[in-house]
Symmetry: C2
Subunit: 358 residues, 2 copies
DNA sequence: CTGTTAGCGCGTTCAC
DNA sequence: GTGAACGCGCTAACAG
């Protein structure tokens, strides 16, 4: 009441009180009030109490984050760029685990995650949203243009499973070697006629047979590396690209591959969800797994719906990958220069693979 | 080069050029440069070209979002508060669909989603992060304190499936009526001994039998409403609370409920994932579904792993719920007063429910 | 311990 | 069409 009367007969109800108003009511200077809120400087107890009382009276909720962020040069926000539609990204448990690890690490440091896509209309956010650092996930060909923008904006970039680029901090996974390891496992079991179901190769998510041209042009580093790993063991490998890491897509791809003559005796799926779909396709066709068909997965997430089968798969440390990205972001913001990180997959033996039977 | 020589012999390489620097190089005033970037005002073509050339030369990426946001009073960020750990929230397809709809609508309006949790260390974001509006999802008891903070900060609040509160825009779902509808379906089939598996009742996510005390104290509006709906038809309903909407939890709950004597002939699960778990539990125990046990789900998401069974379930418009929340946020930001929205579930008949058999 | 001063980088009045 | 001045709300320096 006093404030209204003395300070502003023009605007009777200040909708959003600011620090200055609180300071004025408390009878202290703005900087003192600021210190009282941030707790950063030495403020006497009575003063601090006065400030809080004034804030209460004015219904002041604390310093405006926008102004803080301008002044401090930090927003407390870490961008997370997904190239897929969110729906797709969220459907794969491996991705979710990664985000979970990331969120965990960032949350602990008082940072929040801003979800962005680098395609579609939401892509504007990449150049407009306030961010202190950014984590690129499941990166596509758009990567380079995005990275250029971030570099211009002076925003540190962390990329998970991407081609190495200058000024981009890499979180790597041994996609190629791991897949080769899995392929060798199949080779040891005697398999010679092997096919692959890949993750989407282009941002168009087009299904269809793998060709050297498509692979070379692919924007998906992960998919490409995993194909290369399989080729390290089976140079003449054939396969199809899926439209996404879903069970349904594995089913579609599996039907296509199992219709070939001669039928492959083993299928390398680039994710566990795809592997499950392939197993479903086999079931549909009356093909026994692992007796007549071996199926290898990737990710090591627990997937429902293949019991009593246990997927033989390449287990990747998804959660740790996310945590590492979070820690890297925090370190880069502190001006540190963390060492690049590379994770390694482990082949977990289940019973979806077995000796070739013929 | 020229700039360095003339403007700053002290700092040879200005790390982050600002609008003023660009304007200076272009030989125009800062306000003109600003207009050139925003495209909002009349700027002659030559001038505009000069400005962009200068920006290019200085490697200027455009106006600083932080400063824009302070000046404009908008950050372009919509907060999304999840009370669970992200991992839990992401594991339920119904939730993901909702987020997808939300992201879609917001992305189209150039807004980005900031993910926040209202528990744990990340909760600081609630009072610190810059946001223009906020969507509360799967809200817990913490709701009220959060809402108070947002109100103080002058941030519009949208709450999905929450108790109505002043100044909170509701997106409702007929959880109670829908569950009652499903329960009546069971009643018509002759079931009298019915049990329920609920979503977590408290933020502790404690498993255990439902009691009137627990229900009354529950922070989960959705779980409570669905229980009430079941009670509308079966007043003496018993049940257990799960620790989350996962198949595994349904399995645990199913085992517990199916060990009772007399064994229930029907189980109402508060999500499809829980329902699948219950069906698994039945399978373990050699109980046939639907012959010896009817199982009712909720959500209508496509769940893997019960084929050839088709879940009888209450289908909710998850994606639309998210879209509605997004549209409401946008409308509220525009100063509009959109009408509250309420969605209705539909009972989809599958073959996981059938006539009581005894 | 507290107050004063000076911006952070930008967008928006107004004049011209 | 363009420029000059001011202020968004806050905080880092210093001064007292």
């Amino acid at each position: 009441m006093r404030v209204e009367a003395s300070a502003a007969s023009e605007r009777p109800v200040p909708a959003r009180p600011n620090l200055a108003a609180v300071a004025a009511l408390a009878g202290v200077s703005a900087s003192t009030a600021s210190l009282a809120f941030s707790g950063a400087g030495p403020v006497s107890e009575p003063t601090r109490a006065k400030v809080f009382a004034a804030a209460e009276a004015l219904n002041y909720a604390g310093p405006d984050p926008r102004a803080q962020s301008l002044r401090r040069g930090r927003s407390g926000i870490i961008g997370v760029v997904i190239d897929d539609r969110l729906r797709d990204a969220f459907r794969d448990p491996a991705n979710i685990s990664m985000l979970d690890g990331l969120a965990d690490e960032l949350g602990g440091a008082g940072l929040a995650m801003l979800l962005l896509t680098d395609t579609g209309e939401g892509a504007a956010g990449i150049s407009l949203a306030p961010m202190d650092a950014v984590v690129l996930v499941g990166c596509s060909t758009e990567l380079h243009s995005s990275v250029k923008i971030f570099r211009q904006r002076g925003i540190p970039v962390i990329a998970i499973e991407a081609e190495h680029m200058p000024d981009v901090f890499p979180i790597d996974l041994d996609n190629r070697d791991a897949t080769a390891l899995g392929a060798r496992h199949l080779k040891q079991l005697g398999h010679e006629n092997v096919a692959v179901v890949s993750l989407p190769l282009e941002s168009s998510h087009a299904r269809g047979p793998l060709t050297r041209e498509r692979e070379a042009a692919s924007g998906s580093f992960t998919a490409r590396q995993r194909i290369l790993g399989a080729r390290d063991v089976y140079p003449n490998l054939v396969g199809v690209a899926s439209a996404g890491s879903f069970i349904e897509e594995g089913l579609i791809a599996g039907r296509a591959l199992l219709a070939a003559t001669p039928r492959p005796t083993a299928i390398i799926a680039q994710s566990d969800l795809l592997a499950v779909g392939v197993i479903r396709a086999a079931a549909e066709l009356g093909i026994a797994v692992p007796a007549d068909l071996s199926v290898l997965g990737f990710d090591g997430v627990s997937v429902e719906g293949v019991a009593p089968l246990e997927l033989t798969t390449l287990v990747q440390p998804s959660v740790e990958k996310g945590r590492a990205a979070g820690r890297a972001a925090i370190a880069l913001l502190d001006g540190g220069e963390p060492d690049p990180i590379a994770f390694v997959c482990v082949l977990r033996m289940g019973n979806s693979t077995g000796p070739v039977n013929s």
